[in-house]
């Protein structure tokens, strides 16, 4: 039987609320990408609009649910992953999206973040990484680079930053992707992939906070240098990058190495082919950790591995136990076990 679904347009997913991010904030572009991705997800997965739930914590990015015309829950700082988990377990048919900033997800919510990933609950986590606290006006975050000068680190931070990809893969994450706020097309493409993935999908979006951390990513987002400093990974394709598509990644010993094709004896055949589906996290971890200037920054879907999900396991277990139990209602329960008549 042919399933019914509506052909949505991005306009359908725009709420009537005034968007209140600073002009030029990277969040606008991400919203734009999401609103473009949702009709496509709906079409591919045959989802009606009312099936989407956007859950967030607190922060500039966490205002996101107000701007999408679906069900939304703007929670408390750091707890979005826990709230989203509850939503999904309560009703596994919902398509649940979490929006969090780097502070929300990795500082106050670090615990919930890694446990959501570990459980592999089928939610899509959009991690807006601006390496700063936006809403509270410019304090360093757990992704701010060592030495970053911010309002609360006037002499530079003395702490080592998290690398979200490493954290996700370390927590046995099955899906990790990275995008740039300015690259709406790539972000949209990744979001569709994330939605199609069963399990926790973490999409790190490098986002520019024009007010408190402007230019944090300009070294890789500037039009002039972008192609030489980032690599877009696509499953089954060679890991090539550069303005002239003449640079690539090879395996040298136990590390990745950037080479120029045709130089130093390296040919196209030596260049690695991206296998996002490989369960072995080794190369994914290396790809996720690549940093400029030694490496290009990896964008695209870095890891996409199938595994059972928490919500499916919960549902299956409940159905199994229900089927095999003699207890069918509370009266049965109350009268079970050792009872006696007086």
């Amino acid at each position: 039987m042919e399933e019914q679904y509506t052909n949505y347009t991005p306009q359908d997913f725009k709420s009537d609320q005034e968007v209140r991010w600073c002009p030029g904030c990277g969040d606008h572009a991400i919203l734009n990408a999401v609103i473009k991705a949702l009709p496509e997800v709906s079409k591919e997965l045959k989802y009606d609009m009312e099936r989407y739930v956007f859950v967030s914590g607190i922060g500039c990015s966490s205002r996101f649910p107000y701007y999408v015309n679906t069900f939304g829950f703007h929670g408390i700082h750091g707890r979005a992953a826990a709230i989203a988990t509850g939503v999904k377990v309560a009703n596994p048919t919902l398509s649940v999206w979490q929006v969090s900033g780097d502070g929300d997800a990795l500082a106050i919510g670090g615990n919930h973040f890694i446990h959501a990933v570990r459980r592999n609950i089928d939610i899509n986590i959009l991690l807006f990484n601006n390496q700063i606290y936006g809403l509270t006006k410019g304090q360093y975050s757990p992704t701010s680079p060592l030495g970053a000068i911010t309002k609360t680190s006037p002499y530079g931070t003395v702490e080592h930053p998290f690398r979200p990809g490493e954290l996700v893969i370390g927590a046995q994450g099955k899906f990790f992707a990275r995008s740039l706020d300015v690259d709406v097309k790539l972000t949209k493409e990744i979001l569709v992939e994330a939605a199609k993935h069963d399990g926790t999908s973490v999409v790190e979006i490098l986002q520019n906070c024009v007010i408190f951390n402007d230019g944090a990513y300009s070294h890789i987002t500037d039009r002039e240098n972008r192609e030489d400093r980032v690599i877009v990974l696509r499953h089954g394709e060679k890991m090539i990058f550069g303005k002239n598509r003449d640079k690539g990644l090879v395996l040298s010993g136990l590390s990745l190495k950037v080479v120029k094709i045709g130089e130093g004896g390296f040919t196209m055949d030596d260049i690695l082919v991206h296998d996002a589906y490989n369960p072995n996290p080794g190369i994914h971890m290396m790809l996720a950790n690549m940093q400029y200037p030694d490496y290009p920054v990896a964008l695209g879907v870095i890891r996409n591995v199938k595994d059972s999900t928490y919500d499916d396991n919960v549902r299956d277990q409940v159905l199994e136990v229900m089927k095999n139990s003699k207890i069918k209602c509370v009266d049965d329960l109350l009268n079970s076990g050792d009872t006696w008549e007086l």
């Binding site: 009312e50 929670g75 509850g86």
Partner: protein
């Protein structure tokens, strides 16, 4: 039956089993309580165990006790003092001798009363009888350890397993004393050790040998008999602990509402058994999520509530502290949620295995902002079922978080319970918004309850956004308008107050006016009732007003207070409920009787206190 021994009939008896925390006293006590209940006695139990899983062996700090009170009529407390004490080692005797009635029976394992045993327990001499002044008691020195070894020497079991079953020898002795049938206990072994027939046989043998030993020695002069309780209503019974009853009451509420039950929780003593009990009930569709911490526990529950499950979270004091911020979120989003707090000794991690009533203020006000919440307290192990059910009903029908307070004493304690029928419980009708509702306003309210509608994700045309920021009065969108905020604060308070119209009027035990009104709440019910009952029998003008509904208070509360010359508020804290009443009804004067020792009241101390008050002291 042995003709030489006389059988003495008693109305009620208290037995306390005590030993090292590794001696299996909790199981021994539970088995005895169950056997007594099955025999037809009414029973009340009190497990009292140390918080360290393994305190140094043989020390007073490591003593674990389990008290069983059974009688031929309604039994309301586990009893102040015991008629029989079983002490498996010198430490247990030292810690518990003061709880034995003068003339009571004390059975000790004399094998443990050696130099090492005495030293570990911190005795000054090697003569417990003199040192503890036990001349007026019937002391039975039984070589329990060596007889157990002898009993099982051919069993093929290793020495450790053999010694471990000495608690069953002691239990056998007590079974003889009270002519208990051992079938039930034997069936328990068969079930529990189904895969280890040699252990089943060993336990049975030791139990019987203990029984026979008690029959053979002349030391136990009498057998005792406590007849079946005839005052209890006819019907089908089971034993139930407060935590199990709480879990089942929540499941019952979910069934009546026709919604799945979701529990997001994190283990903490003494609340953990609720989660454990719920986790077993997948057969009734219950979903339990053991979260990474309490904050995640309540937040998953809030998410589940948003998505349309009947959501609950369970915890104890320190866990409740962690949940505070999310409680405010539940108040703001006006979603149904039941939060169970099984109170224990505080502050901080305090006395984790001991009982107290000191979370009341936290339950009422432990949140930022004006964040009123319905607060209910259960008062007996079995009525945890009813109040958990009511908590669910109020949460879902009034769209509000509800805090259910129990405490370690009633949570761990158990009693026989006449099994109710679900058809006698009221319907639960949450205001679920129909799919396709046009112009749905998330914060529009029904006129009586002031509850907003519950619009579930996945349903057409009622998409909306909730969150912790202040809401517009109707649309529910974010609003920072000052007048709107005032209106919302007022209406959230009024909504909780309106619950008053849906709860029963407060009842009074005894005359409706008189000299002294004893006021209590929660788990102190049994002791307060027995104390007041005893005084009333002695012709004193005393009545009891025991609260289960705390916020809001029942409508007729002030009227009740106005009819008594004196009011004394009794609670296991420094006066939290007393202060709450002072705030609500400042026109009355409240005396206080408080105890904060990690222990329940005793009836004796309550009666003493009430007599002093009546005498104007």
């Amino acid at each position: 039956m042995d003709k030489q021994k006389s059988v003495q009939e008693l109305d009620e008896v208290v037995v306390r089993f005590s030993g090292d925390s590794g001696d299996g006293m909790q199981l021994t006590g539970t088995l005895f309580a169950d056997a007594s209940a099955l025999f037809g006695n009414d029973v009340s139990t009190f497990p009292d165990y140390p918080s360290e899983i393994r305190a140094p062996q043989g020390t007073v700090g490591g003593v674990s006790g389990f008290q069983v009170h059974f009688g031929n009529r309604k039994v309301n407390t586990p009893g102040d003092y015991c008629d029989v004490l079983v002490a498996m080692n010198p430490a247990a005797l030292k810690a518990n001798a003061k709880w034995v009635k003068k003339g009571g029976i004390i059975i000790v394992d004399v094998d443990q009363f050696n130099e090492k045993g005495y030293q570990r327990a911190g005795y000054k001499t090697f003569d417990a009888e003199t040192e503890l002044n036990l001349q007026d008691y019937k002391l039975i020195f039984a070589p329990i350890t060596s007889l157990t070894k002898e009993s099982l020497k051919d069993s093929g079991l290793d020495n450790k397993s053999i010694v471990r079953s000495k608690n069953m020898f002691a239990l056998g002795m007590v079974y003889y004393l009270f002519e208990r049938n051992m079938n039930f206990t034997e069936r328990f072994f068969e079930k529990k050790f189904a895969k280890k027939p040699e252990i089943v046989e060993a336990n049975k043998k030791v139990l019987h040998d203990g029984y026979n030993y008690a029959a053979n020695i002349q030391a136990i002069a009498n057998k005792y008999e406590v007849k079946q309780a005839e005052t209890l209503p006819k019907g089908r019974y089971r034993n139930i602990s407060g935590n199990t009853a709480t879990a089942w009451g929540l499941i019952a509420a979910a069934e009546k509402a026709g919604l799945p039950l979701f529990c997001g929780s994190y283990p903490i003593t003494p609340a953990t058994e609720i989660l454990i009990e719920l986790a077993k009930r997948k057969d009734l569709g219950v979903k339990t999520l053991q979260a990474e911490d309490e904050i995640a526990g309540i937040c998953t529950a809030i998410g589940a509530s948003f998505a349309g499950n009947f959501a609950v979270t369970t915890t104890s004091g320190p866990g409740l502290s962690l949940k505070s911020e999310a409680l405010g979120l539940a108040v703001m989003t006006e979603l149904p949620l039941v939060v169970v707090d099984v109170q224990r000794g505080g502050p901080s991690t305090g006395l984790p295995t001991k009982t107290e009533q000191s979370d009341l203020m936290q339950a009422l006000w432990g949140r930022n902002g004006e964040a009123p919440m319905v607060v209910i307290a259960a008062s007996t192990p079995s009525n945890c079922f009813d109040y958990a059910f009511m908590a669910g009903k109020i949460a879902m029908e009034h769209m509000t978080p509800v805090m259910l307070l129990t405490d370690g004493y009633i949570a761990n304690g158990s009693e026989p319970w006449k099994i109710p029928s679900m058809k006698d419980y009221p319907e639960i009708k949450p205001p679920i918004v129909p799919e396709g509702t046009k112009d749905y306003m998330p914060y529009a309210r029904d006129a009586e309850r002031l509850a907003r509608g519950w619009a579930l994700p996945g349903k057409k045309d009622i998409e909306h956004r909730l969150g912790g920021l202040e809401k517009d009065f109707l649309k529910g969108t974010v609003s920072h308008d000052p007048i709107n905020h005032q209106k919302m604060v007022d209406i959230r308070a009024e909504k909780v107050k309106r619950v008053q119209e849906y709860i029963p009027e407060q009842e009074v035990f005894g005359d409706k006016e008189g000299e002294l009104l004893v006021v209590g709440w929660g788990g102190t019910y049994g002791h307060l009732y027995d104390a007041v009952n005893e005084m009333r029998k002695a012709g004193k003008s005393v009545s009891l007003c025991h609260f289960n509904y705390i916020n809001p208070l029942p409508k007729n509360t002030g009227e009740i207070f106005s009819k008594f010359k004196k009011i004394v508020v009794c609670e296991l804290n420094l006066g939290q409920f007393a202060n709450y009443l002072r705030m609500n009804f400042p026109e009355y004067k409240y005396m206080q009787y408080n105890k904060v020792q990690g222990l329940p009241f005793t009836v004796v101390e309550l009666v003493d206190k009430f007599n002093q008050i009546l005498e104007g002291k």
